[in-house]
């Protein structure tokens, strides 16, 4: 009996030290991830900076009524539509590049992989410099080329329609290196005997890709895609804000939930509106993550997040 208590105490002491180790990190999570959960209530208040959160009057659903009678559809559509394109384009390009890399000698793999990966290290602000060197109306290289070919220079930062193409390309440029690495590494892990056997049976490279490589990549493709679908309501703020130079004429196309929340908060100082849009995004995002995880679990339980 006494021994049992002793071991229990010993156990507790050991766990105590582990708790101590976990404490600093846990504190950061509590302050910056758990306390902001009061954002669940914030949009139902008529927030007043002078009164503070607790003493501000209740607003009922007014903030949401406002949001859904106006901008909600536009920013949701932009967010989801662009993210869908990014996901599809990124998937196809990354798998294709990984398959191509797989055919190449180590030297070229290293070279191509390095180049593809460079944009990942650039911030969207730096990327906006790169974008403007191409797209600047007066000096940009693209307009120079168009003019040299006898066309007329375009006002890239004014005409929204162009950005249906520009944004996916920018997203691809910045992100494809990252996902190519994932798929390429996965291909490297495929048992080489499969390919040797296929070779002996006279399968062409193309047949090997279709019969071995692609099926081997399939679980990863499904899993990564489902995971990005879980995040389809969150957008890359830098891409839509900085890379577009926050150009107002482009808003009909480039305004997404994240830029909307930012603008409502920092430019308009409208806490109610921005927190309502933020909560809407968080809730939809949460449901989507749960749903996509449920799907991943059905496809491949090993890869489910939880």
């Amino acid at each position: 009996m006494i021994n049992a208590i002793k071991t229990e105490l010993k156990h507790f002491r050991k766990n105590g030290e582990l708790w101590l180790l976990a404490l600093p990190g846990a504190l950061f999570f509590i302050v910056f991830n758990y306390i902001p959960l009061y954002g669940l209530i914030l949009p139902f208040k008529n927030y007043n900076g002078a009164k503070g959160f607790w003493d501000s009057p209740w607003a009922g659903l007014n903030n949401f009524k406002y949001l859904f009678s106006g901008d909600a559809w536009r920013i949701t559509r932009n967010t989801v539509a662009f993210n869908s394109v990014f996901i599809a384009l990124g998937l196809v390009a990354a798998v294709a590049f990984a398959l191509i890399l797989f055919e190449m000698s180590a030297r070229f793999v290293k070279l191509y992989q390095t180049i593809l990966f460079i944009p990942y290290f650039l911030s969207w602000v730096v990327a906006s410099y790169i974008g403007s060197s191409l797209l600047d109306m007066n000096f940009g290289m693209l307009n120079r080329i168009i003019e040299a070919l006898g066309g007329e220079g375009k006002a890239w930062y004014v005409e929204p329609a162009y950005w249906y193409v520009i944004l996916p390309l920018a997203s691809l440029w910045k992100g494809v290196g990252y996902s190519t690495i994932i798929y390429y590494t996965s291909l490297m892990g495929v048992d080489p005997e499969l390919y040797e056997a296929a070779e002996l049976d006279g399968a062409s490279r193309w047949q090997q890709i279709r019969a071995i490589s692609l099926p081997m990549l399939k679980p990863l493709m499904i899993m990564l895609t489902l995971m990005s679908v879980g995040g389809i309501i969150k957008s890359d703020f830098g891409l839509f804000f900085s890379f577009t130079l926050d150009s107002k004429p482009l808003y009909p196309v480039t305004d997404v939930i994240d830029t909307y929340v930012y603008r409502a908060l920092r430019k308009l100082g409208d806490v109610g509106m921005s927190s309502a849009a933020g909560l809407y995004q968080s809730l939809v995002g949460f449901v989507l993550v749960l749903a996509s995880n449920w799907l991943v679990k059905r496809v491949d339980p090993d890869n489910a997040l939880f």
Binding site: K14, A22, G25, F28, S133, V261, L265, S282
Partner: protein, 309 residues
Amino acid sequence: MAGARGERSRQARQPKRRGGLAILPLHALLGGFCLLCLIPLLLVAAISLTPESLLKSGGYTLFPKAWSTAAYEYTFRNYAQIVRSYGITISVTAVGAVMGLFCTTSIAYVISRPYFRYRRFLSFFIFFTMLFYGGLTPTYLLVTKTLHLKDSLLALILPSVMQGWYVILMKGFLQSLPNSIVESAKIDGARELSIFARIVVPISRPGMITVGLFLMLQYWNDWYSSLLYIDDQNLVSLQFLLYKLMASIEFFKVMAQMAPGSIRIDPLSIPTLGARMAMCIVAAGPMVLIFVFMQKYFVRGITIGSIKG
């Protein structure tokens, strides 16, 4: 770690597949795309080295008719601002990455211990932060109104010290270490804290380098926090400086006249087009090169992190 990835030793033995599919078109395709990725980067460098007059008359081009370092000479006249911004970015990155690395490694160690009683609870506690986000607005009010960190470098550091994803990544690393070392130390009666400090930290160096680099990349490239929390001209980090420079060319001129020790110059004579790109290269170039040089650590993090840790 899941199946496909477990076969690391195979990689070394696998003979490289060559030939077969006509390799040249593949080089053309991938090489072409890589070239398209690189050209804009080279263009920025070329613009920074083109005389302003040529830029104004002929626009941006990869191969200007003449070269000039005037834009850099001009940019370095603002050395005071550049040095200050480098100082701010370096301090924020150093403090943030060290804090993040310490907190991430220690909490990841705790949830990687199979004998930790509250392991499931703590894991979920961390995991939940990846599932649900309170939102920008409450975070902003917390940082500015409750913590009073507006115009403080702490506002750039503290909110992003902990990222659930890095904890999961680090836990993956720690779980891949041989457990026997820790077990035998425990049998020898070593305490958890000293096991962590004397054994775990030294042997998990590769994992810590990877997570540390991700943290450094995150802090180095962060301009969004500055956009939210920094109004003070004296606290402008490198990325935020670039953002402001892009957002308004006027800022450049103002800065030129504020810079101590610089000669007052006619704003119209400032090589704004070239100098902007020169500033971009001076501010972003060196660190990007370092990150590219360290890419193998990032690659390791990506491959371990993609299959959950």
